[in-house]
């Protein structure tokens, strides 16, 4: 029974699903297109609004000090770059070519996951450093006006929180994300190795 022709015969006996109407398919394609575009559009709007808001504050505050301005800019860069990276705004980096061979496609997927891994690591660090530095510079102006006791309390609390985030929350979040990515990379490599033997 188990000859080649039998396999082929059995294979083609599989009832296939009703071929979806071409229109239905194209509607699906269109939806996909608009949804990615809307997502990008929405993200850009959020980024733009954030920038406008921060710059607005920067212009309206009586910032006789340069440090405040630099602080504001740093915070803005931190937020924008974090959003950009975490939403994979750089589509070039994450684009796959579906028309290549399976082997090349798997290699692509692995490369992308590695990039994500790297970006994840670097971006979280950059975000924290920029945000902390920005916050510190921004605060200088207000600290000067406070009495020393309040200023100290303020500083201790703020930097206590930043330290907690840096030494506890950051590694924890990073590890979690890293583990998920590593699992995925291992899985993809396993499949890729199937082609090696």
């Amino acid at each position: 029974m188990s000859t080649e022709t039998d396999f082929k015969a059995l294979w083609t006996k599989q009832s296939t699903s009703e071929i979806p109407d071409t229109k239905e398919l194209l509607v699906k394609a269109q939806k996909l297109k608009t949804s990615t575009r809307n997502k990008l559009l929405g993200l850009n709007l959020v980024l733009l609004a954030t920038m406008v808001f921060i710059i607005y504050i920067g212009l309206n505050i009586d910032n006789e000090k340069l440090t405040t301005k630099i602080g504001i800019v740093l915070i803005a860069i931190a937020i924008v770059s974090y959003l950009a990276a975490s939403n994979q705004m750089i589509p070039m980096l994450f684009k796959t070519d579906l028309e290549t061979s399976s082997q090349e496609y798997l290699a692509q997927l692995i490369r992308i996951k590695r990039k994500q891994e790297f970006l994840n690591k670097v971006m979280i660090n950059v975000y924290f450093i920029l945000l902390s530095a920005g916050l510190f510079l921004y605060m200088l102006q207000f600290l000067e006006r406070m009495n020393p006791v309040w200023a100290t309390i303020y500083l201790v609390l703020t930097f206590g929180w930043i330290a907690l985030a840096w030494f506890y929350l950051r590694p924890r979040g990073m590890r979690k994300k890293q583990r998920a990515l590593n699992d995925m990379i291992a899985r993809l490599e396993e499949v890729n190795e199937q082609l090696g033997s």
Binding site: K8, W11, T12, Q14, T16, L98, E99, R187, L188
Partner: protein, 156 residues
């Protein structure tokens, strides 16, 4: 070639390849649809460097491989038997068994055997998967041997 013709000619073939990969009717349907969405989008750019069939099967294979990223979906082959029976009651048991066996193979083997059973030439399969023709021949032979063994056990 017009999209409509391609679509009608290749839908069943692509669907079966997806079905061999996931052994889940709805899931296979989704992957097949995604494949044709890509075909529709890329068709104007298709430059006839390879046969249209090879090109479509490449896209289909890669859409299948992409499912690795969707880890949260449980492969059908890991589901209890009765659920499969429940969803597709009118299927011939041998056909079901074949698809079940194929879906249990390593991912790339599933694609290779599905293409082979779909009567794609081994030289074309080599181009789709990215291995040499000799490699494909050996792999097809081994996979068929494996399937035959499973069928022998199944029948006795």
């Amino acid at each position: 070639m017009v999209f409509d013709d391609i679509y009608k000619t290749y839908w069943n073939k692509v669907f079966r390849i997806c079905m061999g990969y996931v052994n889940d009717y709805d899931w296979a349907n989704d992957i097949a649809q995604e494949t044709f969405v890509t075909v529709w989008q890329q068709l104007p750019k298709f430059r006839q460097e390879s046969a249209i069939g090879t090109w479509i099967f490449r896209i289909a294979s890669n859409h299948c491989l992409r499912q690795i990223e969707r880890q949260n979906r449980m492969p059908r082959s890991e589901m209890p038997e009765q659920i499969i029976d429940h969803i597709e009651p009118d299927k011939e048991p041998q056909v079901q068994f074949l698809y079940k066996c194929i879906a249990e193979l390593p991912e790339t083997d599933r694609l290779i055997i599905s293409l082979e059973l779909e009567d794609v030439k081994q030289a074309e399969i080599a181009k789709i998967v990215g291995l040499s023709e000799t490699n494909i021949r050996v792999k097809v032979y081994r996979i068929k041997e494996r399937l035959s063994k499973k069928f022998e056990n199944y029948e006795h």
